[in-house]
């Protein structure tokens, strides 16, 4: 028994992806939910499965259900950090297949930017790390970058190349928060926050709400939009605290993506658009290697020469993702949204021709958790 192709995304919405006009995190989430339902041609009364994760609410499905005044019969508050929502696509498909719910909504909302750029997190620190003033998460990623540089000769210029490419993709959207090109020099002359990472090696800090609606593949065919089928889903756990990460340059992302690709029955070279969590330039680089787009240690060379920029050989993070478009604390939902845009053919100037298969890979915390989804606008890959 597999969940391959048994469920599909039939409604999506995102709002206030840079700065909200006065909505709370759950307020953003709630508007995203009702708009995603409207996009699907459904209503709140149809929702019987609710999935969310949050940096604000310890019991986020309860908070959201109360706010919306709904009484779902299946709840899932899986807490894997920023990749929670990608994992929840698989959880929702399994719940739908098992008859635990029929209309599943996965939702997220954050006011990280309105909160004056302070990272909002309920995450506890390890008693073995907390007394030293590690800045979460950039301190840990600085350590990842130093190790990658020492082990493989990766350079700050190479890391900057990804930031430059992401900005180029963002310029092809109508919502780019910083609508001018970026240069490698600008990245390298921006202040070092946690060596070797500069300010412009970091993702944006934005607000944002987003939601997706999933139903069974059978029901999806009767709804308004061409369904985006979940063909594969995989998860993996790496560690919780950076001091327990066995190898700072390699992650379990490989296992997560292999599980998803194997379920989908496709290989990496069949994928048309790729959406990979980019909290920092270095996290993107490590994940590209682990996902198999290049060999371990060659991520720096891989992102050179515009390979992942518009017109390059890999359509990666086609809206600029976390570095150049949106990153409200947790990015996972917005990676899914961009994949759906591409698979619906709604991606405008950045549309990848004949996009049929998308790979979405998220991490949580500091490369700690991993979740991968393979999506397609065809029920059979």
């Amino acid at each position: 028994m597999s969940i391959r192709g048994t469920s599909a995304i039939v409604g999506v919405a995102q709002l206030d992806t840079f700065k909200t006009d006065g909505k709370s995190p759950v307020g953003l989430m709630s508007v995203a939910v009702t708009r995603a339902l409207s996009d699907a041609g459904l209503t709140l009364a149809d929702v019987d499965g609710l999935f969310t994760a949050s940096s604000y609410y310890a019991f986020p499905t309860l908070t959201l259900a109360e706010y919306l005044g709904i009484h779902p019969r299946h709840m899932d508050s899986t807490a894997l950090g920023g990749c929670s929502f990608i994992a929840q696509l698989g959880h929702a498909a399994a719940a739908i297949q098992a008859g635990l719910c029929e209309v599943a909504v996965v939702a997220y909302g954050s006011t990280q930017r309105s909160d004056a750029g302070k990272l909002v997190s309920m995450a506890e620190s390890s008693p073995y790390e907390q007394p030293y003033g590690l800045i979460h998460p950039i301190g840990a990623f600085g350590m990842v970058a130093q190790r990658h540089m020492a082990q493989y000769g990766t350079t700050s210029e190479q890391l900057a190349q990804y930031a430059v490419s992401a900005r180029e993709w963002a310029l092809l959207t109508d919502s780019a928060p910083y609508p001018t090109p970026l240069t490698v020099d600008e990245v390298l002359t921006s202040p070092v926050i946690s060596s070797p990472l500069h300010k412009l090696d970091c993702c944006l800090v934005t607000d944002g709400g987003a939601a997706v609606v999933l139903v069974s593949a059978e029901r999806a065919r009767d709804l308004r939009h061409n369904p985006v089928y979940l063909l594969g889903s995989g998860e993996a756990v790496n560690h919780r605290n950076i001091s327990q990460m066995p190898d700072l340059t390699a992650t379990e992302a490989a296992r997560s993506s292999q599980r998803a690709l194997q379920m989908a029955g496709v290989t990496l070279d069949q994928i048309d658009t790729v959406h990979v969590y980019d909290a920092f330039t270095i996290s993107l680089l490590v994940l590209l290697e682990d996902l198999g787009f290049c060999a371990k240690g060659e991520g720096g060379a891989f992102v050179e020469g515009g390979r992942v920029a518009p017109g390059g050989s890999l359509a990666l993070n086609t809206n600029g993702a976390g570095l150049a478009q949106v990153h409200p604390g947790m990015l996972g939902m917005f990676l899914i949204l961009e994949a759906v845009q591409q698979l619906r053919g709604d991606a405008g100037r950045r549309q990848v021709d004949n996009a049929r298969l998308s790979l979405v890979h998220g991490m949580g915390l500091t490369l700690s958790a991993h979740a991968t989804a393979v999506l397609s606008n065809h029920p059979e890959a």
Binding site: S126, P127, Y128, E129, Q130, P131, Y132, G133, L134, I135, H136, I138, G139, G142, M143, V144, A145, Q146, R147, A150, Q151, P191, V192, I193, S194, S195, P196, L197, N241, I242, S243, L248
Partner: protein, 142 residues
Amino acid sequence: MTTAVRPPITPRGEEKVFYDRLREHELVFHRCDGCSSVVFPLRTVCPHCSSESLSIEVSRGAGVVYSFTTQHRAAHPFFADDVPTTLVLVDLDEGFRVFANLTGVENVVVGAAVEAWFDDVDAELTLLRFRPRNDAAGEGRA
């Protein structure tokens, strides 16, 4: 000078044992009685063989820098006077890795030899820190 207070830590159980031993200027780790694995941080159960019998051993405190970062901002107002600060992951000779900060040196590289020292920061808390290791001098070895 900052007037902020140190963000409190609340070590519990085996975590408290670790901090109690730091107070005695000892960096401790576990060795599993069942499979002899080195286990760190201290655990109630061996992640390799599930034994609940683990014995505390004291590290010599000598190791090499596995990785590091120098933070140019403070994570908390309490640390404002310490910026820039260099945080390290150190691989101890006994075969485990710890997180701490590095003192007494401007620049560090991956692979640098370091040694532990113990900083009695207040009436209750002792923190593990590292400094460059000079084997010839041998002073202050943990």
